[in-house]
Amino acid sequence: MSHLFSVLGPVIYLAVANIGAGTALMRLFPAQARPREYASGIALLLGQGIYASVLLVAALTKQFTLPVLLALTLPFVLFALYETRCNPWSLVRKLGIAGQAFFGAPLHWKVLTVVTTSLLLSLMASISGIIEGDALAFYLTLPKIIASAHRLAPVPGYEPFMSVGLIAEMQLAALYLLGMPDASVKLYIWLTTLTGIAILGAICSNAGLGRRGRLLAVAIAASSSCIVILMEGKTDFFAAAYGLCAALFALRSWEEPIRRASLMLSGMFLGIALVAKLSYAIAFFPPMLMLLFYPRLVALCQHWREPHQMAPRVLQLVREGAWVALLMLPPFLVHFAKNLIMVGSLNGVQGSFQYFTSETTRHIVLNYPLVLTVGRYWGQLGNISVLLLAWLMLAFVLPARIWRAQPKIVVLLLAGLLGVACWVAMLPAVPIPRYFLATLLILAVPAAWLAERFARSSDVCDNVVVAAAVFCLYIVFNVWSPQVFPVHIASQYLFSGQDPAQSAKLLNINESLSRDGYETINQDAAPGARVFLASYFRFWLRPDLIQTSNNDPENATFKWEPSDPEKLWRQLHEHGFQYLYMDGSQRWKEMIKSPPSWVTVTELYPRGAFFGTSYGSAYKLDFRDAPGTVQWTTKEVAPGAWQVIRSDQRG
C-alpha cells in the first residue's frame, strides 16, 4: 500500500470524528444560530477543541491507549457519516455553483483563483519538507512520546515547556496512536490551515464582501510566509483557526435573534484559542471584546443620558459577558489541571520576552507595521503578507463615503488595530506575527474589502490588484516551495510503495541527514538505553530513548570544563549514559577528541568523519573500570512508558 493511504487514513478518520463531535455539540444550539455555509469547517474546529481537552484528560489519567481513543471517536465518526449521508449531492451542487461563478468571472480573476487554490493545495507537500527547529525539539516530539507512553510524559530537557497549551499536540498524539508515520502528522496541520482560511472567507462573507473580496482575503493569508512556514511542523495556526471562528460568531451575534447562541459559541472558541496560544490574551482578547459587545456599547452610548434605560442595558451586558466567560472556562479548567500535575502551578514558569536590547526594541516599535511585513528579527519565522499593508493603505486613496453603512468592516479594522496596539504596548520586543496571527488575519478582511472596492473603480485598478496578488503568490511559491513544501518530492513520497527507510530518503536533504544520525542510535540501542543529547533536537530518536534522555537538571549540571576533562565523562558514567549525540549547536568536540583511558568511544555516525558534520554525530560509549558507580538507570513503568530512576530503587 502506498504511503498516501497510510498517511491519509488516520487524518481522515480523526477529521471525521471531529466533525461528528462538533456537529453533535452544535445541535445543542438553535438551528438559526448554526451557520449553513462552512458548517463542516466550523464543526471540525469545534470538534478539535473538544477532543483536545478530552484526550488530555485521558493522557493525564494514563489511559491514552488505542482502545480508549477508538471508543471516544468511533461513535462520532458514525454520527458524522450518518449526518452527511445526503450531503454528497449538496457538495456536488455547491461545486456546480462555484464552477458557474468561476467560469463567469473575467479571465484575470480566474487566474487568481487557480493560483491561490494551487498554492493552498500544494502546501500539502510540506509532508516531505523540512521540520522547523522548535517542532524537532518539542512540538512534534511531545505527541510522539505521549502516543508511545500512553500518558502525558514530559519531554526531557523541556520540562518547563509543559505549561503551554496542548490543544494541537493532543490531536497529533492521537494521529501517532492511529499509526501515522514520522512527521506525516504535518498533513493535519495543513488540513487545519485550510479550514482556518475557509473560516476567514466566512468572516468576509458575513462582513459583506463579495466573492472577489473573499478571494483577496484568502490570497493575503496564502501569501503570508508566517503561515506557510508553520507547515514546517509548528502548531500556531490551530489557535488562529479557533480565533477566527470566535470572530465569526462574534460578528454573527450582532443579529439579535441568534445573539445568545452566537455569543456562547464565540466564547467556546475564544476559550479554545486562548488555551491553544496564551499570547492571544494580549492581542486577540481585547479585539474580541470589541467585536462581541460593540452593539451593546453603541446602545449604551446612545442612552447614557437616560438612567432608567441604562440599568437594564448594563445588566444585559453583564449577563452576556458572564455567558461568554462561562463558555470560555472548560478548556482552561483542563489546562490548569494539567499544569498543576505537570509543573506544580497554574501557569508554570513564564519566560522573559526581552529578546533584544532597548535600542533595538525602540527601533522595532518605531518601524511598525513594516517589521511585520519585511522584518527579519530573531524568532520571527516569516512575515504577514505585504498585500495586507498594500491594500489597507488604500483607505487613504478611496473616498471617505465608502465607509458609510459598513459597520462590520469598520469595527473589524478598529479591532485589529486595537489588537496590534495592545501587542506593541505589552510586548514591544516581540515582533512575531504568529503570536497574534488571528488579529492580523482579522485585518485581512477590511484590507480585502478595500482592494475589492479599489478594483471596482476602473479596469486598470482591477488588473493591478489581481496582478499584485498573483505575483506575490508566485514569489511565495518560488521562494518557499523547495524547502517547506517540495511538491515533486512529496508526490514521490506519497505515491510510492517503498519501505519507511527508503521513503525517509525522500525527505528534504537536511532532514534526511539529521534523521540518519539518530537512526544509527535507534538501531543499535537496547530498549530504554540512555542517550545524552548534546543537541536541542530529538524528534527522530526512538520514543523510549527520548523519554530516558538527559533531563533539565542534568543539563544544568553537565558542563564541559577543559581544566577537568574527566569530570563530564564521570558524570556520564554515573548517570548511566551509553550513547552520545552531538550536533553543530553544541561545542563538545574537544571532549570527544581526548577521552580518558577507561572510556571507549565508538563512532556510529557519520563513519569516517570523526568530528562530525553540522548534521550531527552519534557515538557509543563503553565504560570499563571507570571510577565511581552507575547511580541512575531506567525502568519501563508501563508498556511504552520509561522513567529514569536511581539504581538502588530498581529492585
Partner: protein, 204 residues
C-alpha cells in the same frame, strides 16, 4: 538589451507586429477595449521578457537554450486556451442576454401596438417586463453616485494612480525582500538598507 534584441529578433518582430495590429484595432474601436488592453498587456510582458537580461537568460543557462522559448510557447498556448474559453463564456452570456432582450422587445412592441390600436392589455396576459430596461441617462450614471464633474474625475484618476503606484511599490519591495527580484538603482539600494535595518539576532 541590444544583445537580447539581436538574439531574439525573430520572436520580437512578429510580437511587435501583433502589438501594432492590436493597437490599431483598439484605436479604431473594432475590438472590445477590455479584451484589446488585455492582449496589449500580455504582448508587452512578452516583449519585455525577451528584451530584459532577467529572468529568461538565467533559465536558459540552467535548463538549456531552447527552454525559455518553449516555456513561453506553452504559456502562450495556455493563454490562448483561456482566452478562447473566456470568449465562449462571454458569447454564451451575451446570447442569453440577447434572447431576453428579444423577448422584452417583443412584449414592448405588443404593448405599443395595443396602445396605438386602443385595446387595453389585460393585466394577466401582459405581465410587466421582468427586467426594466434602463434609459440611456440612468444607465450612464450609477445610482447613489453624484454626477461626475471634470474635477471629480481628475481627483478620481489621481486616487487610482496613487493606489496603483503604491500597490506596485509594495509588490516590488516584497520581490526584493525575498530575493526574487534583484535590487535595481537607487530605490533598490534604499530598500536593501531598509531591510538590513529591520533585522536583529537574539541579544539577551
Amino acid at each position: 538589451m541590444i544583445t537580447m534584441l539581436k538574439a531574439n529578433w525573430p520572436v520580437l518582430l512578429p510580437a511587435l507586429a501583433l502589438f501594432v495590429y492590436t493597437w490599431k484595432l483598439v484605436a479604431s474601436d473594432r475590438i472590445n477595449t477590455r479584451i484589446g488592453v488585455g492582449w496589449l498587456v500580455a504582448l508587452t510582458v512578452f516583449i519585455l521578457l525577451n528584451l530584459l537580461p532577467w529572468p529568461l537568460p538565467g533559465i536558459a543557462a540552467r535548463f538549456g537554450r531552447g527552454t525559455p522559448l518553449l516555456g513561453l510557447a506553452i504559456l502562450a498556448i495556455a493563454w490562448l486556451g483561456l482566452v478562447a474559453i473566456n470568449n465562449h463564456v462571454r458569447i454564451s452570456g451575451l446570447t442569453v442576454k440577447l434572447k431576453l432582450l428579444d423577448q422584452e422587445l417583443a412584449l414592448l412592441n405588443e404593448r405599443m401596438d395595443r396602445m396605438h390600436t386602443g385595446i387595453a392589455a389585460p393585466e394577466s396576459s401582459a405581465p410587466p417586463p421582468s427586467t426594466p430596461i434602463p434609459s440611456p441617462a440612468t444607465a450612464a450614471s450609477e445610482p447613489n453616485q453624484p454626477p461626475r464633474s471634470a474635477t471629480g474625475m481628475g481627483g478620481q484618476l489621481l486616487r487610482q494612480t496613487l493606489g496603483c503606484a503604491w500597490i506596485c511599490v509594495c509588490v516590488y519591495a516584497f520581490g526584493v525582500f525575498t530575493g526574487f527580484i534583484p535590487p535595481q538603482g537607487n530605490f533598490g539600494t534604499v530598500l536593501t538598507q531598509l531591510f538590513t535595518s529591520l533585522q536583529a539576532e537574539y541579544q539577551h
